[in-house]
């Protein structure tokens, strides 16, 4: 009997006009979103390739000519766009793409590590029109379509009179409930599976994208996560349908849940986390950096002054004579170099502590926002899918850590190679920054266990709730 009931449920949904509409929506939007996402990725990739090419030539020129000044003040690096941003855009347009290094021992300024000039800042039109990716289609449109599909799975049958008929058969309620859940879930899965298949087909038909084997595995996992996300909506749709006796009430209740899950909870989570763990703004960091630099530079100046006075009777020299001596001897004289190394190290250490403190506060705020928002399936699925697609926070954090490590190498290299004026140092052994994200799939899943678990629990809760509600449903 269970098999017959499941077949009946499947036939009921597959032959419904709504199924056709949802199927058409999935069939149209899924490949379209992947196509649009791929075009955006290729556009960003072209910009990246042009920028990298220009910088490579620029750097080669500096190293060949021994242009120390240019190397020390104008070195930049561009972040490579992620291929899976075609599916899950995440933060890839909002995060900065360029990072610069700047070293000048005479005024101690090293900007805080930051990536600037995001895709949106470069071309705000992309924000004005909005970016279409598979994640948006699944999270907003398909979730609504799934609710449309399931809102009347129980109460619709009651209104139509067929529920009483089934209840008159010698079938246990539990069998009936399980058959309904299974049939409905299978019916919802068909268009979704087809949508992901079409998306994969579009990706495979775009060889320029350069999707690797590990990317395909991630895409498969992404599809699974999106599937669980939509199952949450499906199960809650059936549950709401089994809680009321009118289709309209069920649908409106589900619409309210959809609005709260998609808009209210995630934004409330962000605002609450900002209140609980406020983070100083970049401008406060800039103020601290200016004060620190002034203090350190003053101390360094005082020590240098003592050295100049002892060696050259500095106070008796004219400004021009001071300028000549300072200009010629600053780099050669070891005591002066030691003073600068000492105070630069002091400045860099304290600056790094300030930046590290702010990063820690931001991480705390972000972790709270992600934890609170995981109550909503949107929060949970966004956290997992962006990390899977390498367009989330953890990738940016790893990149920033790698950049900070490289920054230490860069400062050390420049300090060691600084030559007196007129001399061109040998820069042939300079190593430019290179980075490739090496996080494995297992590490991503382990790192996102909490939101994944949340998503699974919500699905289980929805199914359990629907099961119990159907068991208790008044079919009269």
């Amino acid at each position: 009997m269970f098999r017959i009931l499941v077949q009946k449920e499947l036939a009921h949904y597959l032959l419904d006009f709504r199924f056709l509409a949802v199927f058409a929506l999935c069939a149209l939007l899924s490949p379209l979103s992947v196509f649009v996402g791929s075009r955006n990725y290729m556009h960003q990739r072209r910009e990246y390739d042009a920028a990298v090419d220009a910088r490579r030539r620029e750097l080669a020129g500096w190293l060949e000519q021994g242009d120390f000044l240019a190397l020390s003040e104008r070195l930049s690096w561009d972040r490579r766009p992620e291929v899976l941003s075609a599916l899950v855009h995440g933060l890839s347009s909002a995060q900065g793409r360029e990072a610069s290094l700047f070293y000048n021992a005479s005024h101690y300024y090293q900007p805080p590590c930051q990536f600037e000039f995001s895709a949106y800042e470069a071309n705000p039109a992309y924000r004005l029109f909005g970016l279409l990716d598979l994640a948006l289609v699944v999270k907003v449109v398909l979730s609504l379509a799934v609710l449309l599909f399931t809102y009347d799975s129980v109460c619709g049958e009651k209104e139509g009179g067929t529920l009483r008929l089934y209840a008159s058969f010698p079938v246990r309620r539990s069998t009936f409930a399980l058959a309904k859940l299974a049939g409905c879930t299978l019916a919802v899965s068909v268009p979704l599976f087809f949508a992901f298949l079409l998306a994969a087909a579009v990706l495979s038909l775009s060889p320029d994208l350069g999707v690797s084997g590990s990317d395909w595995v991630r895409i498969a996992v992404l599809s699974g996560v999106f599937g669980v996300y939509l199952m949450v909506f499906s199960s809650f749709g059936i549950w709401a349908s089994a809680l009321t006796h009118r289709r309209l009430v069920a649908f409106l209740g589900l619409l309210g849940l959809w609005s709260v899950w998609l808009f209210v909870i995630p934004n409330a989570a962000v605002r609450v986390s900002q209140r609980v763990f406020p983070v100083p703004t970049f401008y406060e960091l800039e103020r601290e950096a200016n004060r620190l630099r002034w203090e350190v530079a003053g101390n360094a100046d005082a020590e240098r002054a003592a050295y100049w006075e002892q060696g050259f009777r500095w106070s008796q020299l004219s400004p021009q004579e001071r300028g000549v001596i300072w200009y010629q001897r600053r780099v050669r004289d070891e005591p002066i170099r030691q003073v600068e190394r000492k105070w630069l190290g002091e400045y860099q250490g304290r600056m790094r502590a300030l930046e590290g403190n702010r990063e820690k506060q931001m991480r705390r705020q972000r972790d709270l926002a992600m934890a609170l928002s995981a109550v909503s399936p949107l929060g949970a699925v966004t956290a997992v899918t962006t990390n899977l697609a390498r367009t989330g926070f953890s990738q940016q954090e790893r990149l920033a850590n790698a950049w900070n490590t490289y920054r230490s190498y860069f400062y050390r290299y420049i300090r060691e190679r600084e030559a007196p004026p007129g001399e061109r140092p040998d820069l042939a052994d300079f190593s430019p920054f290179a980075y490739r994200d090496s996080e494995t799939l297992g590490e991503v899943i382990a790192g996102n266990a909490f939101p994944l678990l949340n998503l699974a629990l919500l699905a289980v809760l929805g199914f359990a709730g629907a099961y119990v509600a159907i068991l208790r449903y008044d079919v009269r």
Partner: protein
């Protein structure tokens, strides 16, 4: 009879459970939207105040830069190399329509040397979590959520009555079809504007009463226009609901068709139009443009340095000693620097202007094409109009960038003039006056928002398109109702 019909339609809408639930949801969503908007605005104002304080402290440091032991400190390190930060003030209108404000840069580094003429430190760059989820920007709430609610209020206006049998009854009365439609339209509009317009208006009133929100007269007029265009947008979707409801005989079919229209208008068409525009007229690369500007500057700078080195060599050849060792030599050097700097500036400005014009023309053509196609979507027309009126789009940003460009030119020339003056005073105090570190005449970054009428004129096009959409859909509904089979 029309009065009876009107009364019946209005009561039908207002007394339905659907209206109650959707109105409650609208109050919730709009309320959260206003709260989020206030929080966003306050954090922007906070950040701006901190930024201004940091800048004032920095300028005070620059004033105190003299007296340092290092001879270059007073000039190169502080003014030429580091400079200070200048900031774009937040717009109070971003409270209502955030537009592009979260992703546009707010800060410019002002220094004497080469400065990238681009703004950084957008709110999203500083707090990427803001971009992680769909925001509760009121503009987005109206565009996405409220339009969906309107669809739910109107999808069964006609076909629903047919399914229940009451439409046949009404049609049996001596009432023209257009009066039935008019009554339905009025009832639906009344319900839509009450359910969704009231929380919006109340929210605006509450926000305006806040002590830290001060809108000027021009801003209030623009806010009024945004409210009007929001009303037109909701009315457009109301007409769409009535049209589709009059085209079908089943409520389920009507709803699915309207949902498809909603997805196409809100999600697909605006985004697709960019892709189509890109295929027809590829967008110019901003990175390439910035790179070319940098190359122009550095090439000119290299050429200038080469001229300076050549001059120094010639001077030494003619006098037998370096220019740096004598006051006369240094005086000549400073004047030569000023002359070459002026030449460099003129060449660079001319080349940069040509590059900027070429880029701007291509960009505007691409954007214009994309916007023209996207205007097939009423959602984009609303978004474009309200962003223009709120000043949270590209127009205000470009005005600010133009101001920054002109200011940077002035700052650049002032820095070099100050360097020249300082150098001459140090070497020839008798001729040029005693040396004194004084930056009191440094240009001050003082930006004030202007609200040009062009923004409103540009928004009027989008408003007209929305009105056209509404009229076309209403006309379609009228024709469909006239032909509707009530049996």
């Amino acid at each position: 009879m029309i009065n009876h019909l009107l009364r019946k339609e209005i009561l039908d809408q207002f007394l339905s459970l659907r209206f109650l639930i959707l109105a409650a949801l609208a109050w919730l969503v709009v309320g959260v939207g206003f709260y989020d908007g206030i929080a966003h605005y306050r954090s922007s104002v906070n950040a701006y105040r901190e930024a201004q304080t940091a800048t004032e402290e920095r300028i005070q440091q620059l004033r105190d830069a003299d007296g340092r032991i290092s001879p270059t400190r007073w000039y190169y390190a502080e003014l030429f190399g580091q400079g200070y930060l200048a900031h774009k003030p937040p717009s109070a209108m971003s409270l209502f329509v955030r537009g592009l404000a979260p992703v546009l840069g707010r800060t410019l580094r002002v220094k004497g040397g080469f400065t990238e003429r681009r703004l950084t430190r957008s709110p999203v760059a500083e707090a990427p979590i803001l971009e992680f989820f769909p925001s509760m920007d009121l503009g987005l709430v109206v565009q996405v959520v409220l339009s969906l609610f309107v669809v739910l209020l109107t999808y069964d206006a006609i076909c629903g009555e047919k399914e229940t049998g009451t439409l046949r009854l009404i049609a049996s009365f001596p009432v023209p079809r257009d009066q039935i439609l008019l009554a339905k339209l009025t009832g639906a509009l009344a319900a839509v504007l009450t359910a969704f317009g009231l929380p919006l208006l109340l929210g605006v009133a509450v926000v305006l009463a806040l002590p830290d929100v001060n809108l000027t007269g021009s801003e209030l007029i623009r806010l009024g226009m945004i409210a009007a265009v929001t009303g037109v947008y909701l009315a457009t979707f109301t007409c769409a609901g009535l049209l589709v409801s009059a085209l079908t005989h089943r409520t389920a079919t009507s709803f699915v068709l309207l949902l498809t229209f909603w997805v196409a208008a809100v999600v697909v068409v605006p985004r697709l139009s960019l892709i189509v525009a890109d295929a027809a007229l590829p967008a110019p690369s901003a990175a390439e443009f910035e790179g070319r500007k940098r190359v122009v500057y550095w090439e000119e700078d290299r050429a200038r340095l080469a001229r300076c080195i050549a001059w120094a060599r010639d001077y030494e050849g003619a006098t037998g000693r370096s220019h740096w060792v004598s006051p006369e030599g240094r005086e000549a050097w400073y004047f030569m620097l000023q002359e070459t700097k002026q030449q460099q500036r003129e060449t660079a400005v001319s080349q940069r202007s040509r590059l900027e014009e070429a880029f701007r023309n291509r960009y505007d053509a691409w954007l214009g094409l994309a916007a023209t196609m996207a205007r097939f979507s009423p959602a984009f027309a609303l978004s474009n109009a309200s962003i223009r009126l709120a000043g949270t789009g590209m127009d205000r940003h470009k005005r600010f960038l133009r101001f920054c460009g002109a200011f940077l030119d002035r700052q650049h020339m002032w820095t070099h003039k100050t360097f020249l003056r300082g150098g001459l005073q140090r070497d020839h105090p008798g001729k040029y006056g005693a040396y004194r570190w004084d930056i009191s005449d440094m240009p001050r970054f003082d930006y004030h928002d202007v609200w040009p009428v062009e923004d409103i004129r540009a928004a009027v096009t989008d408003i007209a398109i929305l009105v056209f959409w509404g009229a076309a859909l209403a006309l379609g509904g009228y024709v469909a109702m006239r032909r509707f089979d009530v049996r």
